[in-house]
């Protein structure tokens, strides 16, 4: 029965048009970024960065590099937005529309219902990140006419990486997997707020606010020493998989930190949901 209930939850989620806003928006943004990268100024910066370091522009200005750029530019803002949009809906929308009362007239326990809903959020997060990864790669390949070699520059993480095609593809796939793992915290936070007595939009806005405030405060010079206490420091952990020598200890630390946050958010949401009264 559990699998049927999860399947039904996914059907509810993926039959809604708004679930696909994120997918559509990412495709649109990918095209916009590719168009902007055509601008001479953008290209010039890229050429300078590579040639000054003794690398060939054409070799590394490739499909997979374009894909990586698109993801780095967009994931924090758009990823956060669409993950919190769907996860903020998952409970609050049902309460708002009245279907939650119909569900809660059934013999299912509230905790089990929440576990199913949270798992649906996990699936959505993986689906969205997979989609972003595949479409970015496709767009990049179409734009540059092939995969090519990967160049990745992430100064905040101290990454200046160059990889051959095979290695690049493997690292890209692995990076997407870790990206899906770390962004789960955004979904779970949206899910937690969704369990409270608030409108779905409020749950989305609250989640985004927490993420933005965390990001802004983390980047203030005064807080450099306590970086590891910020969520966005740990969500950036996926980029560290592109270090020449991958700092697995640091990535593992981030994953454990985020897993603990996920668990905390889930427990808080569940405690609120399981003790709430549901009335028309």
């Amino acid at each position: 029965m559990f699998w049927n209930q999860l399947k039904n939850e996914l059907l509810k989620m993926f039959a809604r048009k708004r679930t696909y806003i994120g997918f559509g928006a990412f495709v649109a943004v990918e095209f916009i970024i590719l168009a902007l990268l055509q601008l001479p100024k953008a290209k010039k910066a890229f050429v300078e960065l590579l040639t000054k370091n003794g690398y060939g522009f054409e070799e590394y200005y490739s499909g997979i590099t374009m894909a990586m750029l698109m993801i780095l530019f967009t994931i924090f803002l758009l990823g956060g937005l669409y993950l919190s949009l769907v996860s903020g809906d998952v409970v609050a929308k049902e309460v708002e529309e009245g279907t939650m009362r119909m569900v809660l007239a059934r013999p299912i326990s509230r905790l089990r219902l929440l576990v199913i809903k949270w798992l649906a959020c996990v699936v959505y997060t993986f689906a969205l990140i997979l989609f972003i990864g595949v479409t970015s790669l496709l767009a990049g390949v179409i734009y540059r006419g092939g995969l090519g070699k990967l160049f990745i520059f992430a100064p905040q993480e101290g990454i200046f990486g160059l990889f051959d095609t095979g290695e690049a593809l493997w690292r890209f796939g692995r990076g997407m997997f870790f990206l899906a793992l770390v962004t789960q915290v955004v979904s779970t936070m949206g899910f937690m707020f969704s369990c409270f007595n608030m409108k779905p939009a409020a749950a989305t806005i609250l989640t985004l606010s927490v993420m933005f405030v965390d990001f802004v405060v983390r980047n203030m010079p005064y807080f450099q020493d306590i970086q590891k206490y910020f969520i966005t420091y740990h969500t950036a952990g996926w980029v560290r998989t592109f270090h020449d020598i991958v700092p697995w200890w640091s990535i593992g630390e981030s994953l454990v930190y985020l897993a603990a946050l996920n668990l905390t958010f889930f427990i808080i949401g569940a405690m609120r949901f399981c003790t709430r009264d549901f009335k028309s």
Binding site: A15, A105, I108, T275, D277, S280
Partner: protein, 300 residues
């Protein structure tokens, strides 16, 4: 089937249900009557485990709703006023989704229930295009699909047209008589409850004013509305003659055991009263409340 003992519920400082004790025996169509805000929906919410009581215990089929939710609610189907569905999905998908929260759905059973509620031609349409009546029938189907023993209907006729109300009424009677379902029916419309139920509970401001059989309420008594030129003299005379038991302040009289409108009219004509109006009347919820409040005062 249902046993409610000492249940209280407050929302903020407002008492929604006040020390409620109620029993609904198996096999009955039991009406819950009361104005909006009387505490009916809160009581139903507590019975379905959606609202936590501050005090007291609620049992369905001998199982505590909060201690053993899956067993207690496993035998219950429920409909709410203006039921909500996943409008972007078909009626069939909605049925499957709701019912798989209770257990596996048998395709044959689904077909049978869809036919019973008369949605067989439209069950694969999206719920978005359903009329209010169709949504109500779909709600009934989702309540019936897990094969319940108890059906809880919270104002199921709200928003239905007269034909829809008639259909729903017939269906409820059929479900009780042929399928043997116990039905708890909540409404603020006296005539609806009167048509369907043999037993009822009357609630007001969270308190149970009455619980028992219809006849105990005296609603089967005939009432008349009377307007004559010498009103006070006529009322006094009719009571004295045993044709009317008593008159309310509005000039409504409860007829005596052998009296009817014709006999009252005959008496008035004989007494040379000038008759403005004399007509049988049906009592409404307000009259029931007033009668009960009066009764409580008299007994107090």
């Amino acid at each position: 089937m249902i046993s409610i003992r000492g249940v209280c519920k407050k929302f903020g400082g407002r008492v929604a249900v006040d020390h409620l004790n109620l029993d609904v025996p198996r096999g009955q169509i039991f009406g819950m009557l009361g104005h909006n805000g009387a505490g009916k929906s809160t009581t139903i919410g507590m019975l379905l485990g959606q609202v936590y009581p501050d005090e007291g215990q609620l049992m369905i089929g001998g199982e505590d709703v909060f201690a053993n939710r899956s067993k207690a609610l496993g035998r219950v189907g429920a409909i709410f006023e203006s039921p909500s569905f996943y409008d972007y999905l078909s009626g069939a998908s909605n049925l499957r989704i709701f019912c798989e929260y209770s257990g596996p759905v048998d395709a044959k059973r689904m077909e049978e229930v869809v036919k019973l509620v008369g949605l067989e031609g439209r069950i694969h349409d999206r719920v978005r295009v359903y009329s209010h009546g169709m949504r109500q029938r779909l709600a009934l189907a989702q309540a019936l699909l897990p094969n319940p023993e108890l059906l809880i209907l919270d104002e199921p006729n709200d928003g239905l047209d007269p034909e829809g109300i008639h259909e729903m009424r017939n269906l409820i009677v059929k479900l009780n008589r042929e399928w043997g379902l116990t039905i708890l029916f909540s409404s603020h419309q006296l005539n609806e409850v009167q048509h369907l139920c043999t037993h009822l509970a009357v609630m007001r401001e969270g308190e149970l004013l009455f619980s028992g059989e219809w006849r105990q309420l005296g609603l089967d008594q005939a009432w008349i509305r009377l307007r004559v030129d010498r009103q006070a003299e006529a009322e006094k005379g009719l009571v004295g003659a045993g044709l009317v038991k008593s008159f309310s302040a509005e000039g409504h009289g409860m007829l005596g055991p052998d009296a009817d409108v014709a006999k009252v009219a005959e008496w008035l004509v004989h007494g040379r009263f000038r008759i403005g109006a004399i007509a049988p009347i049906e009592r409404d919820l307000e009259d029931v409340y007033l009668a009960m409040v009066r009764k409580e005062k008299d007994e107090g």
